[in-house]
Amino acid sequence: MIEMINVYKKYPNGIVAANGIDVKIEQGDFVYVVGPSGAGKTTFIKMMYREERPTSGDIMINGINLATIKNSRVPHLRRQIGVVFQDFKLLPRLNVYENVAFALEVIEETPKVIRKKVMDVLELVGLKHKARMFPTELSGGEQQRVSIARSIVNTPKLVIADEPTGNLDPETSWEIMNIFEEINARGTTIIMATHNREIVNTIRHRVIAVEGGLITRDEYRGEYGYEG
């Protein structure tokens, strides 16, 4: 499903964030991406939804090469990938319902389908009763659940999460992880960058460790592996 071939990324300021990454991720995998800050984790993630373009090498997602994709095709790529961010990235002037619906309006879905899908997914993340509230009226955990709802409402095959529990307290983090587990159980691939050793060590999945722009470890049912 996802394949990175000899991916190299150098930023204009000279920092090399990916120094020849080769990796293959199959449909249905749940992958933790771990590593110290500044090791290239975020770049690794960002290249997968084309927020960053690799300097050289190829990134194939469902047969599309992200290294050569035209700018005008990027929106279409992003509709096939759900992305969840550490800072939620919700639209502050839209309420919960509208934030989730936005992902479907973008693909010009009919209002009827939008209403059904949005209410279904809000039920899944347990926020149906707060559909008319605005992001600022929600707790961090609730905002993250809205963000997850938005990322999956379009039923993408791949969900990418960049430290989704980074801003949340431990208890809320577990709730969020449960939702990801449920999404993964439905066959969706999940790639999650995280610093949370407790989660990685408890809910065992494949672990990819990135250090100095290289994959230093890649094991199924792996451990967090850093002193934390």
Binding site: L90, P92, R93, A103, V106, E108
Partner: protein
């Protein structure tokens, strides 16, 4: 793009207007102030221009016919005058009429001259283009049987220089004002959009195409322009209505010049204000969004 998406964009732009509260207010206020300035200024300039035109139209060439000229040569002269290029209007006034005018102006005593009228027969001529008066007068002077050609030499040159300078200054001022208006309004709109650059970034990350993001912003700019032109249109209309009904009757007595009629002038000014508001709003949004779409 599907029709229902366009509908969605319309709803979205209206929602944004109402949810942005103070930002909307700031933009609308900026549009209002500048359009009001532009509106009042255009109103004044157009009327001054009208006055200038009226003054110009009053400029006449007076051709005194040779005293010895016979009836037939006068007819011939009139024909010659009419066929001279640049002549718009010819009015013949026989010396009898000329005397009557003097009697009206200076009193019955002048009636004495009715026995032996010393005056000339006169042609009053208006040039097609008043600014060409001098040239036309020179041409007329060359015709047969003319005694003298007068057109207020010296005075009308000064008048024309004055009017032309006035027009040019007005044009420059209007252009400068328009430019300032564009700058001011698009800047205010830019600030409101900068405040939402994060929104634009998020929309792109969720898979919105550039046009999907742009259109609601452009429509929002249009609403800002429309909202911003309400107060200027109302004020300009009320203002002109009052000035016109106050001044027009007095000016008409003077006969020298008149104000532009309330209709259609006021509709033209209002149309201009609305059009400018919309154009500037749309343009301002378009330019500002463009900067942030490269995510």
């Amino acid at each position: 793009m599907k029709a229902r998406t366009l509908g969605r964009h319309f709803r979205e732009s209206l929602k944004s207007i109402s949810r942005n509260g103070w930002m909307t207010f700031a933009s609308v206020a900026a549009v209002t102030v500048t359009l009001l300035l532009v509106g009042v200024f255009v109103m004044i300039m157009m009327n001054l221009n009208k006055v200038a035109d009226d003054l110009e139209k009053d400029v006449e060439i007076k051709v005194y016919v040779e005293l010895t000229a016979e009836e037939t040569s006068i007819t011939k002269l009139e024909e010659d005058i009419r066929t001279t290029t640049g002549v718009a209007e010819v009015v013949y006034s026989p010396k009898g009429d000329e005397l009557s005018k003097l009697v009206v102006d200076f009193g019955e005593d002048l009636k004495l001259f009715e026995q032996q009228n010393p005056l000339h027969n006169v042609f009053y001529i208006k040039a097609t283009n008043p600014q060409e008066t001098k040239k036309v007068a020179q041409k007329l002077d060359r015709l047969d049987n003319t005694f003298e050609v007068k057109y207020g030499e010296g005075k009308i040159e000064k008048l024309f220089t004055f009017l032309n300078t006035g027009r040019n200054v007005g044009l420059v001022l209007i252009l400068a004002l328009l430019f300032t208006a564009m700058f001011l309004i698009s800047n205010t709109i830019r600030i409101t959009i900068i405040a939402r650059r994060r929104d634009i970034e998020i929309m792109k990350l969720v898979g919105a195409t550039n046009w999907f993001i742009r259109i609601p912003f452009i429509l929002e700019g249009m609403w800002l322009g429309i909202l911003g032109s309400i107060v200027p249109i109302t004020l300009v209309t009320v203002l002109y209505y009052n000035i016109h009904s106050l001044l027009a009757p007095r000016l008409e007595q003077g006969k020298l010049f008149e104000l532009l009629d309330f209709s259609p002038f006021i509709y033209q000014v209002n149309g201009l204000i609305l059009l400018m508001g919309i154009l500037i709003g749309v343009w301002g949004s378009f330019m500002s969004v463009r900067k942030f779409l490269r995510v």
